[in-house]
């Protein structure tokens, strides 16, 4: 019988490097987010050596063009070139901490082998805006809510999650477990709910329903953004069943 060897599959793709850790003596494993393959883990061989030809082309928080040889267990990075190095983010510790936060959130809500990964474009667009935008808090809240929408977890902000009734204008409660707003009269155990005022609800709806160009042109009160931050943090923790590692660093630095 003729000897048969399976031919290796190569993929050329745009990618954003989300995470990296050392592997073996001089290798590193990168976790990439890609538009057509979702999350991919690749080994960059010899990248820690000064003579590595890839070392200068790739780091966490870089958008790259990657040539990946797909393996059965782990894939190998064979070539890489930079598309965007985010040179305005990297010299600023505060912006780096925002970058780490966006990367970790994107990883939490992405899956492997996802052929239509809109989260990639959402992250890519938001990283571009981190360099340009003035109101970073607003940008992060917009990113979180639209990421939740893309991943299919957008909380219901229009109907009561217990009665199913359309909510009237006013203050309500947010239930992370029920995935949206609840009328105040239904609350039995307020520990599970976060009180949310009507202006914060309006702001949250506006952020989730609008493009960044509309959002950045609007005025938001700091207290409303803080309330949205509290709600989304609790909601993301409930969905992912863990707290984000980068969140502590973000609050430490800013």
């Amino acid at each position: 019988m003729k000897a048969y060897r399976r031919r290796k599959k190569f993929v050329q793709t745009e990618a954003i490097a989300l995470k990296v850790y050392d592997f073996g003596d001089a290798d590193r494993i990168f976790v990439f987010l890609t538009p057509n393959n979702g999350l991919i883990k690749v080994v960059a061989k010899g990248i820690r050596k000064p003579k590595s030809k890839m070392g200068g082309h790739i780091d966490v928080l870089s958008k790259i063009n990657a040539y990946i040889s797909i393996g059965e267990n782990l894939s190998n990075l064979s070539q890489v070139e930079i598309i965007e190095n985010y040179n305005l983010i990297k010299p600023d510790l505060s912006l780096i901490s925002i970058g780490f936060y966006l990367l970790e959130l994107s990883e939490k809500f992405s899956v492997e082998n996802d052929p239509n990964n809109d989260i990639y474009y959402h992250l890519s667009f938001t990283l571009d805006q981190v360099e340009k935008s003035v109101n970073k808090d607003l940008l992060m809240r917009w990113f979180e809510l639209n990421l939740l929408a893309l991943a299919g977890f957008l909380p219901d902000l229009y109907n009561c999650q217990i009665s199913g009734n359309t909510l009237t204008e006013g203050d309500h409660l947010f239930s992370s477990i029920n995935g949206g707003l609840v009328e105040k009269k239904f609350s039995t155990n307020t520990d599970n709910y976060i009180y949310i005022d009507k202006n914060s609800i309006k702001a949250m709806r506006f952020l989730s329903d609008n493009e960044w160009s509309n959002v950045k042109a609007s005025n938001f009160q700091i207290k409303n953004l803080q309330k949205i931050k509290e709600v989304t943090k609790k909601y993301i923790q409930t969905i992912t069943q863990s707290s984000l590692n980068s969140e502590k660093f973000l609050s430490n630095v800013n």
Binding site: L18, K19, V20, Y21, G24, D25, P50, K51, K53, G55, G56, H57, D59, V60, L61, I82, N85, N87, K90, P91, D92, L93, I96, S97, F100, Y101, L103, E104, E107, N245, S246, K248, F249, L250, N252, V253
Partner: protein, 212 residues
């Protein structure tokens, strides 16, 4: 690590030794076998000496209470050496980096070992590495005038350097915080350099007379 299929032709004691060698970095199954068979051929006293060194390493090595480098005593030889320049402290990620810098012969100051770098996405924050010890040291030692941050030249290393700079700036604004220069490696051709290295090399350019 995948377990090695135990060969029926190799005694259990030798198989155990092969498995033990495989726990070390860069040792694959073949190298582990070669090392195990080489150990068999060694004279008894050499094998005894290796085995004693291995069993003692964890008991004898501690961290220097000043610089956090590995040491056999509460203060390491570098910290005790009076001829070192005590006005400058070089901050490195790992103890191995101390020996690389020492080997260069170009640095005569003191060290501080962080035992890692900030990596928020992997859950390594300031509390997990020895930044607090560095800040205490800088606050309490009036001789220190400069801190050279020699963390790795990747995003995590850069974030660590910036964080240290921020903390030292808050603690004592008179201390100069510097970073290792980055640019073209010695002996390399510009033709093959990547964009990031070139941009850093241009940014860190120096007058010809000032170069080594």
């Amino acid at each position: 690590m995948t377990p090695l299929n135990k060969s029926p032709f190799i005694p259990d004691a030798l198989n155990d030794l092969i498995e033990s060698f495989r726990l070390l970095p860069s040792i694959g199954p073949k190298t582990a076998q070669r090392l195990a068979f080489a150990t068999l051929k060694m004279p008894d006293d050499q094998v005894k000496s290796i085995s004693e060194s291995l069993s003692e390493i964890k008991n004898r090595i501690i961290f220097c209470q000043i610089c956090q480098n590995i040491s056999e005593n509460s203060k390491c030889d570098i910290c005790l050496n009076e001829s070192r320049d005590r006005s400058i402290v070089c901050v490195v990620e790992e103890a191995m980096d101390v020996y690389v810098l020492e080997k260069s012969g170009a640095y005569k100051g003191l060290f501080h070992v962080l035992h890692g770098s900030l990596s928020p996405s992997n859950g390594i924050g300031p509390e997990e590495i020895r930044i607090k010890e560095l800040i205490n040291r800088v606050n309490n030692d009036e001789l220190i005038k400069e801190v050279v941050v020699a963390t790795n030249l990747n995003l995590e290393g850069e974030a660590t350097a910036m964080y240290i700079n921020q903390l030292i700036g808050d603690a004592n604004a008179n201390i100069k915080v510097t970073r290792l220069a980055r640019g073209m490696p010695s002996g390399s051709d510009i033709e093959y350099a990547d964009e990031i290295t070139i941009s850093h090399a241009l940014g860190s350019r120096i007058k010809i007379n000032e170069s080594l």
